[in-house]
């Protein structure tokens, strides 16, 4: 989806905040949000890293920005757990109000709705028997796709022509896996793009390399 998360090349963010001595977690709740989210993903909601990333993208743009990185992890955990019927909608806010002494009723227990979906193997990499459709050195065009759901094809390369630099390990397709439709394991290619093709003749001169799935590409030579 064309969401706030797709930040590549967007402008107006200002200067970078850089603190080389920053601790891993700057407050204790951050570690707990991180750990609960990963445990939720691994054990409680269908073991699907792509669904987890998509939960992040589904946040409203202001929510995404205002909650910061580990605030987003908490919201990801809540979203995955609500999707799977482990907790009810609004359960976290209701419990939070109770913890601080407010007299509120909590939502009823939902019905468990964990996706009926078993990964074909651990992790995301898979063996694919078919030969890769594209060869190293071949020109390819990133398709102009705008799916409503999850994708790992960022806007800034869509429609652009690049060169296949390397055949990467085959892997599950995030676009279908995130929605528990199918793993759709396929080849993945490291593709290079010239900065001036992406950002115009006045841009800095550099090479951009990005890993793109077979479904994202079409031959351009």
């Amino acid at each position: 989806m064309d969401g706030i998360h797709d930040m590549g090349g967007t402008q107006g963010w200002g200067e970078l905040h850089f603190d080389p001595d920053e601790p891993v977690f700057t407050a204790p709740w951050q570690g707990r949000a991180f750990a609960m989210c990963l445990l939720s993903m691994n054990r409680l909601t269908g073991r699907n890293l792509d669904a987890m990333r998509h939960a992040l993208e589904r946040l409203r743009p202001l929510q995404y920005l205002e909650n910061g990185y580990y605030g987003r992890w908490l919201l990801m955990a809540e979203t995955l757990l609500t999707d799977s019927g482990v907790i009810g909608e609004g359960a976290v806010d209701a419990r939070a109000r109770k913890l601080r002494g407010e007299d509120v009723s909590e939502p009823p227990e939902p019905e468990l709705a964990k996706p009926d979906y078993t990964p074909a193997g651990p992790g995301s990499l898979r063996q694919v028997e078919a030969e890769p459709r594209f060869k190293v050195g071949q020109q390819v065009r990133a398709k102009n796709l705008h799916p409503k759901g999850h994708t790992r094809l960022p806007r800034y390369v869509r429609g652009q022509v690049g060169t296949v630099e390397r055949i990467q390990p085959a892997a599950v397709l995030p676009d279908t896996n995130a929605h528990f439709i199918a793993e759709n394991a396929q080849h993945c290619y490291q593709v290079s793009f010239a900065s001036k093709d992406l950002w115009g003749d006045d841009s800095e001169d550099f090479v951009l390399l990005i890993d793109l799935f077979d479904d994202y590409l079409e031959a351009a030579s």
């Binding site: 930040m7 991180f34 990333r53 919201l75 976290v92 992406l198 800095e204 793109l212």
Partner: protein, 199 residues
């Protein structure tokens, strides 16, 4: 799919405590398991792992050859593997070629060798600008690359993870593998800095 959580004006630390309270009450989460998990990523899995990989590659040409051929396997030789490390490619910086790593869509990062991503890596400014104006961005980190240095920016959009092997700094020729480790920073292994000069 259910709706995403409604925007909330409750403090995030209280909301985190609330979720833990619900999951513990349901018997789905053991706070001691969370503690162990947090300790692992706060103390054990961090950029020291990657620094050991780089220092070994600087001093052992055969190891370096294996590392460049198959990063994942050579890194696993030192015992580093796990989540976000299914396939790790090592990018070697040279006097004329500089690599920079970003994830524009989220914050993908090679956890087994670098730990969890630092704040700047997750900053929208970094994610947005690394693929559009890397030279200007690197200058804000204090790294000015000459016009003769080619820049390659890697956007981590699949499950492949990238780690930069910085150039071995001048003046470090006499140092042992152990002495080289502190010169290799997290920033150098992401490509926003060079390795530190020896003291």
């Amino acid at each position: 799919m259910s709706p995403v959580p409604a925007p909330s004006d409750l403090p995030v630390d209280l909301r985190t405590e609330a979720l833990e309270s619900i999951l513990v009450e349901k018997g789905l989460v053991d706070p001691a398991v969370l503690d162990k998990f947090i300790k692992t990523y706060a103390e054990d899995v961090g950029p020291l792992n990657g620094a050991k990989v780089v220092a070994k590659a600087w001093t052992d040409p055969e190891y370096k050859a294996r590392l460049m051929e198959n990063g994942t396997a050579a890194i696993a030789e030192l015992g580093y593997k796990g989540p976000q490390g299914e396939c790790i490619i090592v990018l070697e910086n040279t006097p004329t070629l500089h690599h920079l790593v970003v994830c524009t869509l989220c914050s993908c990062y090679p956890w087994p060798v670098l730990g969890l991503p630092p704040g700047w890596y997750k900053d929208p400014a970094y994610r947005a600008r690394a693929v559009r104006e890397p030279r200007a961005l690197l200058a804000e980190f204090g790294l000015d690359l000459g016009p003769d240095v080619e820049i390659k920016v890697f956007d981590s959009s699949s499950e492949v993870r990238y780690m930069v092997m910085p150039e071995r700094p001048a003046g470090s020729e006499g140092l042992s593998e152990e002495e080289l480790i502190p010169l290799v920073t997290r920033e150098a292994m992401t490509g926003v800095a060079k390795a530190k000069a020896p003291a």
